[in-house]
Structure formats: structure tokens, C-alpha cells
């Protein structure tokens, strides 16, 4: 009888360890597959390298906290994107009380460095335009800004954006369209003003 109990307890411990190790493996694979996406979502909101990295760490910390529920997650990418979005928005609200989001990150990430083959005037023009668009995006209503930012990320489909923002896919499309219309109008006004 005692031997049977020992065997059962041993099996339970082993299965627990196996489950924990499998959870760790799942977590590791999530980090390897989606940390770039999480970072880009965070950077799209926060516009600062350090804040984006902190938000990425915090996102995966939350995932670790809920690692027992990892088995129930159907779409890990959307789930992670949703967590990352919430973390970044919360952090942005918190940081917004302390300082304004700068137009240029002093530690510019690698992807934003222009190619050496591009002419200097074109680089300058594109940089200025990017700054203008960024300003215009900042003043967009939150309802339009969120889907536009996420749609700019190449990894995010309208379905995933809808799941992340908890709205319908049609709403995502219409809001992105309206946001683009507003931006185009502003850019056109700016161009005609010159």
C-alpha cells in the first residue's frame, strides 16, 4: 500500500516536473519567435528604445506569471500582441505624466539608420517627412491611432489587430482608412501651404 502511494507520488512529481519543463520550453519558444514583434509593438507606442525594451521584458514577465494557462492559449501571437499592447499603453500613460515623447530617439535602433547608398537630400527629406507623419499620428484620436499603428507593423494582419484591440475586423479596416484619410489631408494641406 505504502509502496503504491510512493509510486503515485513519484509519478506526480515527475509529471509536474515534466509539465514545468514543457512550460519553460513553450515560454522560450515564445520569446524566440515573438520577442521582435513585442518589441516593435512597444516601440510603436512608446517611441523610445529603453522603454520599448522594458515593456518587452514586462510583457514576457506577465506571460511567465500566467504560464500555467499557456496550454489554453489558442493563438499565442495574438495573445502576446494583446499583452504587449496593454503593457505599452499603460507604460505610455505612466510616462506621459513625466515627459513628452521625443520625436527622435537618441539611441536610434538599427533599422532606422538609412542606407549609405541613399542620397543625402533624400535622406533628409524622408526624415523630415517621417517626423511630420509621426507628429500627425500623435495628434490622431486614440480610436484611430491604435489600429493605424498596429497596421503599420508588417507582422500584424487585420484579424490579429482586431483581436488585439478587441474590436471587429471591419472596424479595424474602417478606422485605418479614416486615419489614413486624415493624415493624407493634413499632408496635402502642408504641401499646398509650402
Amino acid at each position: 500500500m505504502i509502496e503504491d502511494r510512493r509510486v503515485v507520488a513519484g509519478e506526480a512529481i515527475l509529471s509536474g516536473l515534466a509539465a514545468e519543463s514543457s512550460r519553460n520550453e513553450v515560454l522560450e519558444s515564445l520569446v524566440r519567435e515573438h520577442s521582435r514583434l513585442v518589441y516593435r509593438i512597444a516601440y510603436a507606442v512608446l517611441r523610445r528604445h529603453h522603454d520599448a525594451e522594458d515593456a518587452t521584458q514586462e510583457t514576457f514577465m506577465r506571460v511567465l506569471r500566467y504560464s500555467l494557462k499557456l496550454d489554453k492559449v489558442e493563438d499565442a501571437k495574438t495573445w502576446l500582441a494583446r499583452i504587449a499592447w496593454r503593457v505599452a499603453v499603460d507604460r505610455s500613460r505612466h510616462l506621459g505624466k513625466r515627459y513628452e515623447i521625443p520625436l527622435e530617439d537618441p539611441q536610434m535602433p538599427v533599422g532606422e539608420i538609412a542606407s549609405k547608398n541613399t542620397p543625402a537630400d533624400q535622406v533628409l527629406q524622408e526624415t523630415q517627412l517621417a517626423g511630420v507623419v509621426q507628429n500627425l499620428i500623435t495628434v490622431l484620436p486614440e480610436k484611430l491611432r491604435a489600429p493605424l499603428i498596429l497596421s503599420a507593423l508588417e507582422e500584424m494582419s487585420p484579424r490579429e489587430i482586431a483581436a488585439t484591440l478587441d474590436i471587429s475586423e471591419a472596424a479595424v479596416r474602417s478606422r485605418v482608412f479614416r486615419a489614413r484619410q486624415i493624415l493624407k489631408e493634413k499632408l496635402a494641406q502642408r504641401r499646398s501651404g509650402k
Binding site: 520569446v31 516593435r40 516601440y43 518587452t56 511630420v132 503599420a152 508588417e154 499632408l187 496635402a188
Partner: protein, 203 residues
């Protein structure tokens, strides 16, 4: 007509141009790469955090429970230490008791007087005196940590004396006079007559 077509084409071209500009700007807005080694940093952070708190959640609960028990025991001990002082402080003052007894007592027997006076005025040894830091209202707490309160009869008697001092004095004098007369009769009659018998006869 060609003019309107021209304008439409031109506005279409302008819109396409703006679309292209916007697409390029949005692509630049989102095209960002993390610093190299982000995955390793995240994994390292996760491994540290995973080892520290989450593998032993029972330890946190155990510590919290132990802390709560220690707090409760400390509070109970503190309250039990605090409790006896108010009980002693609530006792009626011994001086009041003594003065009231002395006022109503006619002191018929010399021995009683001696006992009362002895109880009130015998000096204590210096070593047994309460320390100077103790409050003056409880000088004898070392010898009498819990002085007995007055009985119901004593309290009634003291109240009577307080309320009717003249009558009390009169009763005390009468009692004393009666005792003296009894003593005198006993002396006259000799040892054959008992005081109880004389008292009942006189009454």
C-alpha cells in the same frame, strides 16, 4: 471636358503620391529592430524571475502566515501585560476606607484601636518600599498588589456616615456609653454575671 479629366487625373496622381508618401512614412514609423541580444536578455530575466519567486509559492504563504501569527501573539501579550494596571487603579483608595472606618468606629475596645492604628501607621522597612518611579497613589503595591475592596456593608456604612454625620456620631456615642455602662455593671456584679446576660436584662 478634357480639363476636368485633367484635374481628376491630377488629383488622382496627387492622392497616389500622398499614399506612397504615407506608406513610406508608416513603414519607417514601424520599421525598427531591437538591439541585438534581446531574446537572450529576456530569457535571462525570465530565468532569474522564474527561479526566485514562482517555484516556491508556498514559502511566501508560509512566511506571511508566520508573520501574522507572530503579530497576533505579540498583540495578545502586550494586551495581557497592559490589563492588570487598570484593575488596580480602579480600586477605591485605602485612605478613604481607613478614614471612614475610623470615623464611625466608637473604638470600644483598646485592642481594636491598637490593631487599626498599627495597620495604618506601622512604618515599612526601607527595602520594601516601592520605587520612587511608581505613582504615589499606589505606594504599597509590593505588599498588597491587589487590595480588597470594601464589602457591601462597609460601603453602606460609609455612605451613611457621609450622609448623616451627626446621627452617626450620636449612635457612636450611645454605643460607647452603653459599652461603658456594661463594663461598669460587670465590674460591680463581679465575674458571676456574664456581659451578654446583663445586656439582655438591661435591654
Amino acid at each position: 471636358m478634357p480639363d476636368t479629366n485633367y484635374k481628376r487625373d491630377r488629383s488622382q496622381d496627387q492622392s497616389d503620391d500622398l499614399d506612397l508618401m504615407l506608406d513610406a512614412s508608416l513603414a519607417k514609423y514601424a520599421a525598427v529592430e531591437p538591439r541585438p541580444g534581446l531574446e537572450q536578455r529576456v530569457l535571462a530575466h525570465l530565468s532569474v524571475e522564474a527561479v526566485l519567486p514562482s517555484r516556491h509559492p508556498w514559502l511566501q504563504w508560509g512566511l506571511a502566515g508566520a508573520l501574522a501569527v507572530i503579530t497576533v501573539v505579540g498583540v495578545l501579550a502586550w494586551r495581557s501585560n497592559q490589563a492588570p494596571h487598570p484593575v488596580i487603579a480602579n480600586h477605591p483608595s485605602t485612605t478613604i476606607q481607613r478614614s471612614s472606618i475610623q470615623e464611625i468606629r466608637p473604638a470600644p475596645h483598646a485592642t481594636d484601636k491598637v490593631v487599626t492604628v498599627t495597620h495604618a501607621s506601622v512604618p515599612r522597612p526601607a527595602a520594601r518600599r516601592a520605587p520612587a518611579s511608581r505613582p504615589a497613589t499606589h505606594p504599597k503595591l509590593d505588599q498588597f498588589p491587589s487590595p480588597q475592596p470594601l464589602s457591601a456593608e462597609e460601603i453602606a456604612l460609609a455612605q451613611y456616615v457621609e450622609n448623616f454625620p451627626k446621627e452617626a456620631r450620636l449612635i457612636a456615642d450611645t454605643q460607647e456609653q452603653f459599652a461603658l455602662e456594661t463594663q461598669k455593671v460587670m465590674n460591680d456584679a463581679g465575674s458571676e454575671i456574664r456581659p451578654s446576660g446583663s445586656t439582655s436584662q438591661e435591654r
